[in-house]
Point group: C2
DNA sequence: TGTTAGCACTCTTTGTTACCGAGTGCTAAT
DNA sequence: ATTAGCACTCGGTAACAAAGAGTGCTAACA
């Protein structure tokens, strides 16, 4: 559908615009090494490319910039994977250099490094807790009225919540409860806890504890998995340095959306494994009109755990970002698998 | 040092500028209800006020704006406490309406509400963990090599860290360790744990456990209190709506500083109890040149727990913000005292 | 027939000029 | 002591010109 020459010209336009953020004119193009024909020829080809919807003008006599359709084509057909340099690799390795065991911390460091290497904003959707299996429940009474329930999952994730103790419950009662809970629920996926609690544990509690229903509700309430997994960000302010965000209104929209988190969550979550690229309005979000979002997933073994993403202007260094995401997500998966496979 | 009339004029200038963000001229002033003399008179008085350093011009023939010295005087001498309206009070009450027990969540909600009521950025320094006393330590083994240590404090704060298990340690060993730890350390302030651990617990461990030193180090590492207490923010993007931040560079500086957190920490922490006001360069921070920071402390009983603050432009509604901070910090202290006094 | 030189045209950017309005400082009259 | 009046200053806006970058189209060229 596109001739080789059109392809070449298009590629050079996109590459140049990604670098300079300035519309690219025929004269600029004709001076490039890769290009050996005159500006007039280029103008003709550009007119065709524009008619096909790959490039646009900002005004009648301006140079061209890639359209969203153009970026899409560029990303789908013209991208050559970029080789990471020594510095990048070194930086990524440094995520895992320190002996940290907590999943969350590793993930958080990844977000930070990723934003530093790209100068864009990085977003990491933390490890999904819902598939974790319960390792242990513990209850620590603080005083007569309140206690803390703590649950530990097989990946080492810890959740805790305070709750009200029913009256007239003593330490030995609590101990019984904890024993029953661990006995019945250990090993079960967090998702199923609530169900099991009422179906299996309720009966047992009744035999041992007075006012067991109040207690049960408190525990059920405590055990509920958070609806959203944690989001980690890196370089939230990096977008302020991008020329397309010299307009305060755009910045405000974007920042608000980042601050809200819910919107981000929707954008990040529903992605297949591997690399996903959403360009501009493909994100279906007015605050992201000038942005692209590239996501990659990381996993333990075959189980997809979370998502790691870069948010940048549509004029983004796609090739570099994809390479980095691929590299980090692979490393992340490898390290995590090694740490937690045998759980 | 200032005549009554100068005082009046100065006050009206500040009040007007806080509202409009526009330099105030003599004609505008002469039209105000409070003011019954001519613009020429006002001009003379303004010249004096400028000579005294309370107000400034933005250019030779502009109206006047308050100087930093002016704001300082205004805040120290002219502030009349503002009465909160029904809506404000209702909003603040809503922080405590839901039955939440976790300190952190209450504090976080306060930050959110505060930013919504003021349209500035709110910062809350979370409850200091260092003075908490240890309630319970627990260790949950995840697999042969790793375990999680969980500590619970008397205020219900939970910290957890993963650590490497020494080889050849079994469940009963771990149980012994936990018992010893709780026996010896429960009730001690977190700050003193490290010390006690090596002084008192080490001896005991030696008798019961092989390779006790490795274990000890892991535990010591785990028990370390975080150097910084948690910061909570509300309305990080609110500043983008202030006219003084139409300049992207200023926004970038400020946002970066907020994102870093360390700088904020320094600003917030070293404040006496009660209300503290830092205006513009008094903050000693170039990113905050156009900002004022008002802090208040909250406490349980007489023990100062944390700080609650508002970051806004120097042209801030001081009176309203101070009233709000006073009100919230008092409420916060009252509720927290009630919940945790009897710990 | 594909390529290119040339040219008229368009649109943005930049600089100049002029002018209005808001505000000031100073002087002189009240 | 207060104020009316006036000359002056400065920012903002609009109108206009000129420069520069780029385009589309036509006609000449290989």
């Amino acid at each position: 559908m596109l001739t080789d020459r059109q392809l070449l010209i298009f590629q050079v336009i996109v590459d140049d615009f990604i670098q300079t953020a300035q519309p690219v004119g025929s004269r600029t193009l004709s001076k490039k090494e890769e290009i050996s024909f005159s500006s007039a020829t280029i103008r003709n080809e550009m007119a065709d490319l524009e008619e096909l919807g790959f490039i646009e003008k900002t005004h009648t006599s301006s140079g061209r910039i890639p359209s969203e359709k153009g970026y899409r084509y560029y990303v789908d057909h013209l991208l050559s994977p970029q080789k990471l340099n020594q510095y990048d690799i070194h930086k990524v390795q440094s995520i895992f250099a320190e002996r940290i065991y907590e999943l969350e911390k590793i993930v958080q460091r990844s977000a930070k490094i990723l934003s530093e290497l790209t100068n864009y904003t990085s977003i990491v959707l933390g490890p999904a807790v819902r598939d974790n299996k319960l390792k242990k429940i513990q209850i620590v009474p603080l005083n007569k009225e309140t206690a803390i329930a703590i649950i530990v999952t097989d990946t080492g994730h810890v959740e805790n919540r305070m709750f009200h103790l029913p009256e007239n419950i003593d330490a030995s009662d609590l101990e019984k409860v904890v024993n029953i809970l661990n006995d019945r629920l250990a090993g079960a996926p967090l998702e199923s806890l609530n169900n099991k609690l009422y179906k299996e544990v309720a009966v047992l509690l009744r035999h041992h504890i007075n006012n067991y229903d109040l207690m049960l509700n408190s525990i059920a309430d405590t055990i509920k998995i958070p609806a959203y997994d944690k989001l980690f960000f890196g370089g939230k302010t990096n977008m302020l340095s991008q020329p397309e965000f010299h307009d305060i209104e755009k910045v405000k929209n974007l920042m608000n959306m980042i601050e809200q988190e819910e919107g981000i969550y929707d954008l990040i979550r529903k992605n297949k494994s591997g690399i996903n690229i959403k360009i501009g309005r493909e994100n279906n979000n007015s605050a992201m009109e000038n942005c692209s979002l590239i996501t990659a997933s990381y996993s333990i073994g075959t189980e997809q755990l979370g998502t790691i993403a870069i948010l940048g202007p549509t004029r983004m260094e796609y090739s570099r970002v994809i390479s980095l995401l691929n590299y980090i997500s692979a490393d992340l998966s490898a390290v995590l698998s090694k740490l937690y496979q045998n759980r």
